[in-house]
């Protein structure tokens, strides 16, 4: 089967940009990625655009602005994993021999405040059962009850990621914080305080994927997998109103990671750097367990060991994670991949993971959808 290479990446910083449209941001990211790949009009045969709140034909609007239409342009929505879904479709098309070169991008301007999701029925909103942070809080509490995670651990995740993000010029928050400040911020949904939750925001990211035998050099896309949930887990991102009284239902993240490890012929012990879903501080710890970075229940010990901090054995979220960058749904997964491509190229300056050759990114969100990407150099 044909290999897939990342020939170029581009980013519009993540943050809040009044007066800058979803299209404007997409144009910035796409231009940068095409520029790195050294290609232009007519040089890619399809485009996939991740977006959840962008509206009709978001991808078309970006490529129309650049004068590059005519090929199939497909918008892809898979919640927080939208960009991962776009990447999976693009990579699969290249592997199947359908296209040589495909543009993948994501662009998003999220509403301010608690995310209003069309996923919920009106009665759920009316009953107070559409409060996204409440589901995060319940999941965090279960992690505390089952994995020995404390509020201090949750605060430490934020401190770690904000320290990483302090040297990321594309992050929304580029200032370090402290355990005291995190625990001093208001409680949103116990045990989660405000600083433990990522900010929905705005941004764009883009990649050019190319058949490996046509690329001069680059980072290899070893796996790009998307899975949905198996029903049964009441606190799954599928956000059901009920589940089974059973704890062994595999998480969508675990399903996607298992498939990705198999496709890449690699395992968790081969990884050098990880970007994972840290929509809230507990989600990063849960993600570490579900991705197999530690034993089930071992995420607090993994954090305590310093392994996941820059300079440690397996840095997690060297970009600062969503806790520093914020989360523009359609762009966040591809933003992780852009970071990891730069890490594998050794371009990340103070936040560089030295010698990184194998990288994994992970997003999971409503649907449920979980995306796992493995990159190698």
């Amino acid at each position: 089967m044909t290999g897939v290479t990342v020939a170029g990446v581009g980013l519009h910083p993540f943050g809040r940009f009044d007066g800058v449209s979803t299209t404007d941001m997409g144009v910035v990211a796409v231009r940068a990625a095409l520029g790195e790949a050294g290609i232009g009009k007519g040089d890619f045969q399809a485009a996939f655009c991740g977006t959840a709140y962008g509206g009709v034909a978001t991808g078309h609007k970006v490529l129309s602005r650049l004068g590059m239409t005519g090929m199939p342009i497909v918008d892809v929505e898979a919640g927080c994993a939208s960009g991962g879904a776009a990447l999976m479709l693009a990579a699969a098309a290249i592997r199947a021999g359908q296209y040589d070169t495909v543009l993948v991008f994501g662009t998003e301007k999220m509403p301010r405040g608690i995310i209003r999701s069309s996923f919920f029925e009106p009665w759920q909103e009316e009953a107070g059962l559409a409060a996204t942070p409440a589901f995060f809080g319940l999941r965090a509490q279960r992690l505390c009850l089952t994995s020995g995670v404390t509020k201090e651990h949750l605060a430490q995740v934020v401190v770690k990621n904000r320290r990483h993000g302090a040297s990321n010029p594309d992050a929304m928050y580029q200032k370090e914080t402290t355990v005291e400040a995190v625990l001093g911020s208001r409680v949103v949904c116990d045990p989660l305080h405000l600083f433990m939750l990522c900010s929905p925001n705005e941004g764009a990211a883009a990649l050019v994927l190319r058949r490996a035998d046509l690329a001069r050099s680059g980072v290899t896309l070893a796996a790009a997998v998307l899975r949905s949930h198996i029903p049964g887990s009441v606190l799954s991102e599928s956000t059901p109103l009920a589940g089974l009284a059973a704890d062994e239902v595999p998480a969508p993240t675990t399903l996607a990671a298992t498939d990705a490890y198999e496709a890449a012929g690699l395992g968790p012990s081969d990884l050098h750097v990880v970007e994972c879903q840290d929509t809230d501080a507990a989600r990063e710890l849960g993600s570490c367990e579900e991705l197999g970075l530690c034993e089930p229940g071992g995420s607090a010990a993994l954090l305590d060991s310093g392994a996941t901090t820059l300079g440690g054995r397996l840095p997690v979220n060297p970009s600062g994670g969503l806790l520093s960058k914020g989360e523009p749904l359609g762009a966040s997964a591809l933003g992780q991949v852009v970071e990891l491509v730069r890490q594998l190229r050794g371009e990340c300056g103070p936040r560089q993971v030295e010698g990184a050759r194998v990288a994994l990114s992970h997003t999971v969100g409503r649907g449920a959808n979980a995306g796992v990407v493995i990159l190698t150099r």
């Binding site: 995310i115 009316e126 107070g128 319940l138 009850l145």
Partner: protein
């Protein structure tokens, strides 16, 4: 009632679920097909009124579309049918609750609609 078909508000009240004839799984709300094995037409049942607390938190700021009071409790209650249900809780102080404590179904007011009627929903209270 915030939505028909979720619960009956009689005395005593009950959540309305279904049970799959093929695999025995219990669903809430009522399902057209078993979410676990896809068998059609699961049997309508009333769920147990009492269960145990499995997870809990409180919502401190009004989420989108919500017109009632804050803070309010949200949690997961495990019922004897082998099902865990996401529910409002009558207790909004997380420190006042413990894992595994007995909980009982209640019907509680959410807010008053334009015609002056109380809109009610299901919740669990410490038993």
């Amino acid at each position: 009632m915030v939505r028909d078909g979720l619960f009956n508000d009689g005395d005593p009240p009950a959540l309305l679920g279904t049970r799959c004839a093929a695999c025995g799984s219990v669903h809430f709300p009522r399902a057209d097909a078993c979410t676990y094995c896809a068998t059609e037409d699961p049997e309508p049942i009333e769920l147990s009124r009492r269960g145990t607390l499995w997870a809990w938190t409180a919502v401190t700021a009004p989420p989108p579309g919500y017109k009632g009071e804050v803070p309010f409790g949200v949690g997961v209650v495990e019922l004897p049918e082998g099902v865990r249900v996401i529910t409002r809780l009558t207790e909004s102080d997380p420190a006042a609750l413990v894992e595994g404590q007995a909980m009982e179904l209640r019907i509680v007011p959410l807010h008053r609609d334009e015609e002056g009627n109380d809109v009610v929903t299901y919740a669990f209270a410490p038993a």
